[in-house]
């Protein structure tokens, strides 16, 4: 068994976002961790499912499954591994990528926000996406309805590169209405997933996925967010990684701007009101 095969086994058995396993793999290396799992050296009750999976998983099956979706499996050992991800305390074991792996290396801006934006938010997300694409940046987002979709579309319209980090398997197309959008994104950009093909999206996976958006990009912009929006989580993840976080203000009478105002009020995000502002802020951030 080589490193790639060990990582394949671990990737398909362990859910992302676990600092425990990240540390184990860092300390002992993936091959050793697999060996230890198979030797039942870990808590059999707490990790029952993982141990069972590790026993029954054949790396060649995993790799073949990924390849059959037209995707590639990259690991931290690869030259093409995006180094920005290494800042995460819960680094991914590997990533499935459909499309251009080189796109992941580009300087990129994450644009996130509510799934129920107003026309204002949709327009601003699209404009900022296009603005940064004009400056040769890529746009990273989650492929969800609302601000995410507006950002992806804004980038595509400006003939730029956009990356969608998905919460489900790379072939699952969640949400269903974006099947066509994902196909378009994969043409010039990339789709990224931290779970095996066929795995469904569940609420917990969205939060896990959000940290990837924050880590993969150089900076994060929250366009519109309600008081309890998941995109606020992404902003905090980015702040924890010492990345620049920006937010767009809106009318104080609009509930879809309340989350952005919260971030700004708590000094967790910088107010930006134009693409130029945002570019300047990111450039000066140290």
């Amino acid at each position: 068994m080589n490193i790639l095969e060990a990582r394949a086994i671990l990737f398909s058995s362990i859910e992302g976002g676990s600092t425990f396993w990240t540390r184990e793999i860092e300390d002992h290396g993936p091959i050793e961790v697999v060996r230890k799992l198979r030797a039942r050296a870990y808590d059999p009750i707490r990790f029952e499912k993982i141990i069972a999976k590790v026993f029954t998983t054949e790396p060649s099956t995993v790799l073949a499954e990924i390849a059959s979706c037209g995707c590639q499996f990259i690991t931290p050992e690869d030259v093409q591994w995006p180094s920005r991800l290494n800042d995460l305390s819960a680094m991914p074991i590997g990533l499935i990528v459909k499309g251009s792996i080189d796109a992941l290396q580009l300087p990129s801006l994450a644009i996130v926000g509510t799934r129920n934006p107003t026309n204002y938010g949709v327009r601003v997300a699209g404009d900022f996406a296009a603005g940064f694409v004009d400056r040769e940046w890529a746009i990273v987002s989650g492929g969800a309805y609302g601000i995410d979709a507006a950002a992806h579309r804004g980038a595509l319209v400006a003939e730029g590169v956009t990356i969608a980090v998905l919460a489900a398997g790379i072939d699952v197309n969640y949400p269903g209405g974006h099947a066509h959008l994902f196909a378009e994104i994969a043409e010039t950009g990339a789709l990224v997933s931290e779970v095996m093909p066929g795995v469904r999206a569940i609420p917990a996976r969205f939060l896990i996925r959000n940290r990837l958006i924050a880590a993969l990009s150089c900076a994060t912009l929250v366009v519109e967010a309600a008081f309890r929006s998941g995109s606020l989580r992404t902003a905090r993840d980015a702040a924890e990684l010492m990345r620049p976080v920006m937010a767009i203000p809106g009318p104080i009478t609009s509930p879809t701007s309340e989350g952005c105002h919260r971030l700004i009020g708590e000094r967790a995000a910088e107010v930006v009101t134009s693409v130029a502002d945002a570019v300047e802020f990111v450039a000066s951030y140290k």
Binding site: R115, A226, T253, P255, T256, E258
Partner: protein
Amino acid sequence: MTLGQSLTVALLGLDGQIVTVEVDIADGLPAYVLLGLPDAALTESRDRVRSALVNCSENWPNRKVTVSLSPAWLPKSGSSFDLPIAIALLAAQQVFPMERSRDVLYLGELALDGHIRGVRGVLPSLIAAYKSGIRTAVVPWANRVEARLMSEMTIIPMEHLGSLLRWLRTGERQENLEMDLALPADESVFDFSDLAGQDRARLAAEVAAVGGHHLLLMGPPGAGKTMIAQRLPGILPALTREESLEVTAIHSIAGGLSARSPLASDAPFVAPHHSATRVAMVGGGSHTIKPGACSLAHRGVLFVDEAPECDSGVLDSLRQPLESGSITIARAIGSVSYPARFLLVLAANPCPCGKFSGRGRNCTCTSQQVRRYLSKLSGPLMDRIDLRVQVEPLSRVELSKPELGETSAAIQRRVISARTTAAHRFINEPWSLNSEIPSRALRNSYQPERAAMNFLHTELDREHITARGLHKVMRTAWSIADLSGHIRPSIDDTRLAYSLREGHGS
């Protein structure tokens, strides 16, 4: 052989067909046969007629009675046949001379003591009779005001079978006082002066009234959406005589006319509950096809409150009338069309719990729920909505202002003036409202100013609106131009129309 005859009307929708009631009394065992596809209420007429006749001291023949309602292929329904059947039966017994009864229309239900009860659909029945050349009609006393709307006919309202028979025998009847059809000035309960603030919503209501543009009001509960919708009919122009007759005929069939002033002179306001079924909304029924809310709102306002709570099939059924201005309902007994040209007002909360507004901190809905709720309003129905307004709760300052808002009368004057301008413009066209301008005409003859079109085309290029949306904005811009007194929509008129369609901004 003794044969008696009388004339009446069977209604299918708004259309009436003359029915000849023939009664034959022949030798044989006592029997009663009713022919001509009667429904349940009609079949029961035998006992009502019998009691009424006996209680008026008339004879019920103890022989074989055959009643035929001709034409035989047309299904007949309702209780309005009681009176004509009674008259035909009495005619067969030669109880009165035939001269007065010839070519007279009879309508009415009989009470067991001989009183003649009111029925629905009197006006459309009389219209049908008039078209067939009948000029005299006996109607129930309760329907006399409605019937007198047919001023070209001789209307004989009767209260009791006894008095009717006296008239047939002797020509005497109680002379009725001339009905004064001039109705009292309608003290409208709802006035825009009741509404404080809400300038944008008022503007949208005014524009909607000018051009016939459909309107969506969005906002938290209690902000005033219902108030605004209720006051919209009050700023529409009063109905013309023809429109009045149309609306009265529809309401007559539905049974919704008030006895005192049946002539509908104001635009109707119909607000079905969001649990209304499809049949309640567009009309239908198994034996008689009754008009639905859409038709009752003809020439007026149809207000669908809590629109996302409606069944999507019900919302969908609005598309046919919105597109064509009428509803056609096909049943086994026949196909019926009712007119349904109305101004649609939809109201919606921002989310299922209603609290997603302001800072939105009390909202308990997940983003999935909000999305699903609002998506009930998406698609072809929303495409027909030209104006979208956020109705927010009033601020303390607005609520405490001592001055009343502008009155409905003042707004109505502007609406009428703007509509007149439009009517002049469309004098050679088959349409009269801005919302009715076809797309081709918009492009060829009714374009806003150059600067305005450039603005719209830029938005089109940026994919902020579709081509259909662009045309809708142009129509709304015309209504705003008519209100502003501009010959053609200016860039400002167009920007306002655009922002009203998009629903944001203030």
